[in-house]
Symmetry: C2
Subunit: 153 residues, 2 copies
Amino acid sequence: MDANEAIRRFRQRDDGYTWEGVDRLAYKQESAAPFRGITRQTLFQRSDLAGELRYFEIAPRGHSTLERHEHTHAVLILRGEGRCLVGDAVHAIRAHDLVTVPPQTWHQFRAGEEPLGFLCMVDALRDRPELPDDAALAELHAQPPVAAFLAEE
Amino acid sequence: MDANEAIRRFRQRDDGYTWEGVDRLAYKQESAAPFRGITRQTLFQRSDLAGELRYFEIAPRGHSTLERHEHTHAVLILRGEGRCLVGDAVHAIRAHDLVTVPPQTWHQFRAGEEPLGFLCMVDALRDRPELPDDAALAELHAQPPVAAFLAEE
């Protein structure tokens, strides 16, 4: 089975959602890292598609990297619940909600008490994410709801 | 609420999956038409995204149009179960399975006893679908599994 097969089957496992023929990339679990408990699976990436569709799954209480970039994220929550930061607003999110992350907007996803899984459509041609420097972090932390969101562990 | 909102909420209704700020396009229910019991919602369509993400929902025993085109379909089943024709093969499909429809490949989705809902990623710039002419239909019906699939009502 590979990405050229017409059908690739979903497999729910105890440790998360998986699909046959799709590699799961597990990031390191380090509290000092800018992410915690998150895996990535690229579901669709083809030379004849201008977009890519990826699946991210965040373990309970884990979070994605706080970052921004020029490309847009088009997100559909597939499982679980949690919250996300988009710009200077924190939103509760649950299964099947849609999240749009516009260009150059700081964003982070955090899982609640269950795994948070979401689809993310991006352009195949896109820039690399930027991490916040000290000045950007200071600006984010100057906003109390954002600071509270980022401070959670 | 519009497509520029950061969050658009999912709303499960008795008559199907919906999202706030997303129009649902219902096709006519005519047995003579090449589709039956299918609605379309465009979840993501933005000038800064090269792809679009749409949600289709097919009523029990309904089906999508039998068609082909140059652009590729990248499909993730979101709810229900059913079967799909891709080229000359019929596949059972269920929630979260992935379906790839390559260029110029005849395809059709059919719902089982429950609504069949699926996400479909396509390029924003794409060609229009082609319907089978008599010769193409004859070729499809010459293959017994395909003929059986197409003959169901």
